[in-house]
Amino acid sequence: MLGYIGRRVLIMVPTLLAISLIVFTIIQLPPGDYFTSYMNELETRGETVDPDKIAFLKAQYGFDRPLYQQYLLWVTGMLRGDFGYSFEYDLPVRDVVGDRLLLTFIVSFATILFTWMLAFPIGVYTAVRQYSFGDYGLTFIGFIGLATPNFLLALVLQYFAYVWFGTSIGGLMDPEYVDQPWSWAKAMSVLEHLWIPVLVIGTSGTAGMIRRLRANLLDELDKQYVITARAKGMPPLRALIKYPLRVALNPFIADIGNLLPQIISGAAIVSVVLSLPTTGPMLLRALQSQDMYLAGSFLMFLATLTVIGTLLSDLALAALDPRIRFGRTEAS
């Protein structure tokens, strides 16, 4: 087991390096740079910026150096805990991201919880009652969630939440709580706003999960040991939960690591529509305005989290299923 862990951890190093290269390429790819795009934006609104000043700023932030130097500076900086500078916020990246992470985790966690709570019983039900009316009905509803473009659903829900319940539009809480310390009223206000993103992001993920759980469970249920257990008179519920369900869940454990980027992606657009104070819109805006260090360091952070998540879920799987330790990776 220790050898396995060691191997997995070692593999992470080249992976992360490759990721950092890709990230750097991504943030360098779009033509122009932050200052040019910022100048353009100001000009569309009638403001003007002295071009000399732009040149001065570019030099100050090292934009005039060769690319490989910029890359090395960035990577070595990150190792030292210096994530670069955000031009948009005029602050070190570290200070910018900080307070948004908590809300991102709240939204992500609530979404995962929601997805699982919805997908789990439905998945089991549709597997046990295969081809029944309920199976078709629930599958259909799940697919509807998947098929509706998230941004439109979010927009419509947000408007009607206002019309029907008077929920203030945008944000994760009523504006008066934004800079307040946490309190009961603030938490309630968050809950009042949270359901829309959770519902929208959640429903787009449940269908896939329902289908996979159903398929895995169906495979298991056909196996000899289940039939034997049933034949021997084990109560159906116990015959379902004791082994088949546990085995059917393995792929889900393997997938925990990948949940994060998926949710961030799905949440980003929804968060833009709903103007949530999460990291998604910030990342999008950073990419769009070419605030490169903010975007780059943030992407790197996400990718690292995912790699670690994958590692953890691999380790968890290996602990659960000894076959995996010996070279057989799980195929999903």
Partner: protein
């Protein structure tokens, strides 16, 4: 090669398959049917999938003749009817059966609210015309696939009348026609994208599954790296590489390539795992034992049995591509007018004005949902049918 054959015993006695038992014609039909026939039989039982398949087939066929189906040309504007709501189709006028018709509309400008106000004019009965070739209304003529000019339409408004069954947008363009034309782009984005993704997936998955070892390791790492990114920034970055000077067609192809490029890891994994699993199957071993060469095993035994799976998983990826196109267009990174796709139409619909005042502009979401659903059901049916011997 002959040295590689396993030494084994073969009964020299003549063997006649029909000797052991006689088959009924029905049984014979089943046992002798080819794999694809069996798949078809199994698929046929999945009613929802069959209906979805037929629906999709119809839709794809309709994109070929969008010009004929759409009552108006894609770019036809009706500046007297801006933001006109959908006109309902009636059958009875004053209790008399007239056939399908719409009432004319009266338009007023409400300057206080800066809004056009429409009302049905019950005195104007405008029967719809079918299979019309007159081309006597604005927007009737089109250039068919830019090949030749035409004015034949399946349905068209009465002379001098209007027929905005799904309303009009801010320039007075008929939404129904735009949706029909938009299908051309939106439906093919998925197909092209999935082709690219399928090719890449087969290539990398095949390499990994066939060679194993370090090749497998590399492909696995590549997949892991790609999957550890949120796909959104990847899309954004890749669409940023596309030069803005590109024409509409190039942008369209570029977008499909991007979608394909990011979708292959899932398929590659499927190919790889299927390849690994199938290699261990009994029929494969049997073929090996009977002295089949690897090439024959791959083409004759492995490929057919996993191509069905592949088609099924590919079908299941198409919806995400169609949705991805809408999402990209939403961010302003995908297709842009004057190209008309469902994503572009939805992009124009994503503001509060539309939700509150002109909800019919959100109608393009209906075909998106339907198509995605249809692909899901079709893919489900295919997946269930993919393994006909089960």
């Amino acid at each position: 090669m002959s040295d590689d054959r396993l030494p084994h015993y073969v009964n020299p006695a003549p063997y006649r398959p029909g000797m052991a038992e006689t088959l009924t014609p029905a049984q014979e039909r089943v046992f002798l049917a080819s794999q694809w026939t069996l798949i078809w039989w199994k698929f046929r039982r999945h009613k929802l999938a069959v209906i979805s398949g037929a629906f999709l087939l119809l839709l794809y066929l309709s994109t070929l003749i969008a010009e004929v189906i759409a009552p108006y040309d894609l770019h036809a504007r009706h500046t007297d009817y801006l933001f006109a709501p959908p006109q309902p189709v009636h059958l009875f006028h004053d209790g008399d059966f007239v056939g399908p018709f719409v009432y004319g509309m009266t338009v007023n400008l409400d300057l206080d609210n800066m809004r056009w106000v429409y009302a049905e004019d019950k005195t104007q009965v405008q029967p719809l015309r079918f299979f019309c070739t007159e081309g006597d209304y604005p927007g009737a003529t089109y250039s068919f696939w830019t090949l030749f000019e035409g004015d034949f339409h399946l349905v068209c408004p009465a002379p001098g009348g209007q027929m905005f069954l799904l309303g009009t947008d801010r320039l007075g363009r008929d939404m129904l026609s735009r949706i029909i034309y938009g299908a051309r782009i939106s439906l093919t984005v998925g197909l092209l994208g999935i082709t690219i993704s399928l090719l890449l997936g087969m290539l990398f998955g095949g390499l990994a599954g066939y060679f194993g070892g370090w090749v497998d390791g590399c492909v696995q790492r590549m997949i892991e790296i790609i999957r550890s990114f949120p796909e959104l920034p990847l899309w954004m970055a890749l669409s940023a590489i596309m030069p803005v000077t590109w024409g509409p067609v190039a942008v369209y192809i570029g977008i499909t390539v991007i979608l394909g490029l990011l979708d292959w890891p899932g398929l590659a994994r499927a190919v790889r795992s299927k390849l690994l699993a199938l290699r261990e199957e009994d029929f494969c071993l049997a073929a090996q034992l009977m002295g089949a060469k690897p090439r024959r095993i791959i083409t004759r035994h492995l490929l057919p049995s996993f191509s069905s799976h592949l088609i099924a998983s590919a079908t299941l990826s198409i919806p995400s591509m169609i949705l991805a196109e809408t999402a990209l267009s939403f961010l302003g990174l995908g297709l842009r007018p004057p190209i008309t796709s469902w994503g572009v139409l939805l992009n124009e619909a994503q503001n509060i004005n539309v939700v509150a005042l002109y909800p019919w502009l959100m109608l393009p979401v209906v075909p998106v949902i339907l198509v995605v659903l249809a692909f899901q059901f079709l893919g489900d049916g295919l997946r269930d049918a993919a393994d006909p011997y089960n």
